[in-house]
Amino acid sequence: MRSTFRDAAHLLRPAALLLIGLAVFLVVRAAVIPKGFGKYGHYRAPFLETARSKPIHYAGQDACVACHDEEAKMRAAGKHAKVACEACHGPQAQHADDPTSLKPKLPDVATLCARCHEKDPAKPRTFPQVVTAEHNAGAACNDCHKPHNPHLD
């Protein structure tokens, strides 16, 4: 028994060093690994919460329809029934939260209508298209077509 530990004394110093090294490693490791890292995978789990908390800019059409009855009814009756309000009117979440804080601008009809309805062979055949230069001879689209329900009676 005694012979086994005869030279134990000179092992104490490296053992102590090893322990100190291990302790330093553990302390540094705990300090540099961000909180929540590895909870779901090799990334910081709390970032998911950060990603979720970004502000919303498009309110969604349910919010629009909740107040704007008349326009909603008109739109629902025509071919634009499935076109979201904000696709033409732009992001209105601020307006939806507090209608007085932001008054939406009227869209510019000349560019707006043409973006979808200008003739292009790449568009689906069944989609209504016109060559604007021939179709309206410089007149504004909404002289004839009501944007919310563009069908002419």
Partner: protein
């Protein structure tokens, strides 16, 4: 103790009243719908893009840009216009400013032409997340590929690894940025900004873990494909009627 029939009924009746009162109380208290917290394990997000419906108006690009404050000249989603000559040699692909203002009048050709909207494919086995040296980009438990911009070094390794060219280095933060599938919207029950504003419903956000999602019926009844299936990235953006010329 001796019990006659009358006692039995009395005790039984009391117990019955007590039990039903308890049940009613539990129904009143318990059935109050707690505000449904978002559970990541219940979702697996993806998208369907119907080429046959896309009109190349660029509404999705504008919506994405506004919703996510995408810097000018950079795109998380964009639309390409393909013109494919017979024989599929050198198709002409254009995407002026990512189609943020739609497309200009085309030069007349007799080529086959169509639009292809593109965005991050939110691959389940994505090369971009595999190459990140620090674990700043990852697939979330609900199947969205995200970049932790506070942890990203800006080494651009993932920008090179993405087979679809969907990542860019944000010029101000100098960290990598990309489509988040509007994670801040879809986790609150809204759809993405691009899907919300697509006037022809060419894009649809889908949840593969929701058995009632129309995606299951769609995939069963349509001929769909993902981009670059040979890369085996397990992309989750399915294209309906995708032409072979599309890269």
């Amino acid at each position: 103790m001796e019990m006659n029939r009358r006692d039995l009924f009395r005790i039984g009746g009391k117990l019955l009243v007590l039990a039903s009162a308890g049940a009613t109380l539990e129904q009143i208290m318990g059935s109050e719908p707690a505000p449904e917290a978002y559970k990541m394990a219940d979702h697996w997000w993806g998208m369907i893009v119907d080429i046959d419906k896309c009109i190349g108006c660029g509404s999705c690009v504008r919506a994405c840009s506004n919703e996510n404050q995408v810097p000018n000249g950079y795109f998380r989603t964009w639309v390409e216009r393909y013109e494919v000559p017979e024989g599929y040699v050198n198709p002409i692909v254009t995407s002026p400013e990512g189609a943020i203002n739609g497309f200009p009048l085309p030069k007349p050709t007799n080529f086959k032409a169509f639009f292809v909207p593109k965005l991050c494919n939110h691959c389940a086995d994505s090369p971009c997340t595999q190459v990140c040296p620090v674990g700043a980009t990852f697939v979330s438990p609900d199947g969205v590929v995200l970049v932790d911009k506070e942890y990203c070094l800006g080494c651009r390794y993932c920008v090179q690894a993405c087979p679809y060219g969907c990542r860019y280095l944000h010029p101000e933060t100098e960290t990598v940025d990309k489509c988040t599938l509007c994670y801040h919207r879809i986790t609150k029950g809204l759809t993405t900004a691009c899907c919300e504003n697509c006037p022809t419903q060419a894009r649809q956000l889908v949840d593969f873990k929701n058995p009632k999602d129309p995606v299951h019926e769609f995939l069963r009844t349509h001929k769909v494909s993902v981009l670059k299936p040979q890369m085996a990235t397990e992309a989750k953006v399915y294209y309906n009627n995708l032409d072979g010329a599309v890269r």
